[in-house]
Symmetry: C2
């Protein structure tokens, strides 16, 4: 069985890209965990069912979307056969065979899929050039708006905008701005969840030159909404560092309107201070303009551990 | 300065793909070593100058073609900025930033470039969709015929054939078969070279789960042509294992007509016996049907060292 699967702690780009790729590849979409409120909102809006929970790669041909890091893949991914990777992150996986691997530094994996479709290039990755339905276009559009935080993230590229407008057209959505705000509203309901859920919401594990590093992120419309839960979040992260043997955990509370992130740093927080050349106060700092884990948090840390 | 560069010990696919990608990207093609007789023949035939020798990545934006292994890249590749990888090998590089990375399991990197061109998808990787001149088409065709050993290698795919015929058309070459035999003849002049040159001709270094493994290959029209030089080749390889600290070196003498390879194995040759479940005699064996390092030699060894 051919399955399409995104990263752990799935977000809207991972889920929507999985569903649309599965549609084009005649495969089955899977998810590696609970959907967040924004993704649920999107699937409901376009009337698309939740993908099935997948916990094992065994016996499957795997199409990985929106991740290449082994730590974000199915735990037993090497029991299946990874045949294709479509992603917009850095390369995180050495393979033992040549596979179809396509990554581009754009704002969302959905942008790459849209480009392949609109350019009649889906055949290039072994997918079918069938018609993009309005539902599928709506999913890809949602993924782009979500991952680029309505084109506000510094990861946003010209292609993201161009594809979003083409997709909005195909999905019959006239007002991208208004639709984006609906998504943002759905997304920000996360602050009402328990601190445990908030921490797990979008948490990723990285292996940086042998160091186990965790980076979580939550996007909020107003950081003040989270303030009263912050102490509990810090306590959970402290325990996580010890229990799961992290060298360091960074948790970014990204304020979408202020366009910056408050980072909470646990474990060997002096690594963070050195990597970013900043001083933390009580293990925290507000970083102006920092909105993207992939583009603004991961690379300086990778660089730091490479040379440490 | 933007440069396009292929792997060490360049072969026809690496050089021709570098030149054509440089043409489409308005970049400068480079080479990491001496050209082999086949590649020289191809460049002469189409009247294209040899790329310049490149020894450092410093200050360059790098477009890597036909390799992703760090050990096959410029020694100081991390002093430059790798922006793009176009390849048909397994993933061999973890990057610290998202880049344009495009690999496909086809017979030649040239096939991927041709597909991008004929599909009007060069823009997808940031290249210009300018016209493919007959010269450039001739280079890509030569690369495909060389890397697939005239469609005889098990790495050959339907796309390689389709692209080769389109390229032959664009290059004004009527008889692919006859042209392929010309290439084979040029290639097989390697047997007239010194044993040192034969060993270095197409030698690649791999890091397999921390083990330094060398795999060299030479394609001959008749293996008997090399027989009298074999003892000297073995002596050179034995010294190479010790001097350069290899765990094992495999040298494949691939007989294009017999469609199989005689392998010479030096260093910890018991690894090879276990990985392929065969018995060597005097450190050598003939392997029926084995023509591709990438597809038939590398994966079992990667698998073996992963589990060793």
């Amino acid at each position: 069985m051919k399955i399409v699967v995104g990263h752990k702690n799935p977000d809207t780009d991972t889920i929507c890209s999985s569903i649309v790729m599965a549609y084009f590849m005649d495969a089955k979409p899977g998810r590696q965990g609970e959907l967040n409120p924004e993704t649920k909102y999107v699937l409901e809006k376009f009337g698309v069912p939740e993908p099935e929970l997948i916990t094992s790669a065994e016996g499957h041909e795997i199409i990985m979307v929106d991740h290449t890091e082994e730590s974000q893949a199915l735990d037993d991914f090497d029991k299946g056969e990874v045949i294709t990777i479509i992603d917009h992150h850095k390369n995180g996986m050495i393979t033992s065979k040549p596979i179809i691997h396509l990554t581009k530094p754009v704002g969302a994996t959905a942008t790459i899929i849209a480009e392949l479709y609109f350019n009649n290039s889906l055949g290039f990755i072994g997918a079918k050039n069938k018609e993009l339905t309005p539902k599928m276009a709506g999913l890809l559009l949602s993924a782009i708006l979500s991952d680029t935080v309505l084109f506000n993230s510094p990861t946003t590229t010209e292609q993201d905008r161009v594809m979003a407008y083409k997709l909005a057209d195909a999905a019959g959505i006239d007002d991208i701005e208004a639709f984006g705000k609906e998504l943002l509203k759905a997304k920000s309901t996360i602050v009402k969840e328990s601190p445990e859920k908030i921490v797990q919401y979008d948490f990723k594990e990285f292996n940086m030159n042998g160091n186990k590093i965790g980076i979580g992120q939550v996007e909020v419309v107003d950081a003040a909404d989270l303030e009263q839960k912050e102490k509990e979040i810090v306590d959970i992260l402290k325990r996580k560092v010890v229990d799961e043997n992290y060298r360091m955990i960074v948790f970014a509370i990204t304020d979408v309107l202020k366009k910056g992130s408050k980072v909470l740093v646990l474990g060997n927080s002096e690594d963070f201070e050195k990597a970013f050349n900043i001083k933390l106060e009580n293990g925290a700092a507000f970083m102006e303009g920092v909105m993207s884990r992939k583009k603004q948090l991961v690379p300086p840390l990778e660089e730091f551990y490479k040379n440490a």
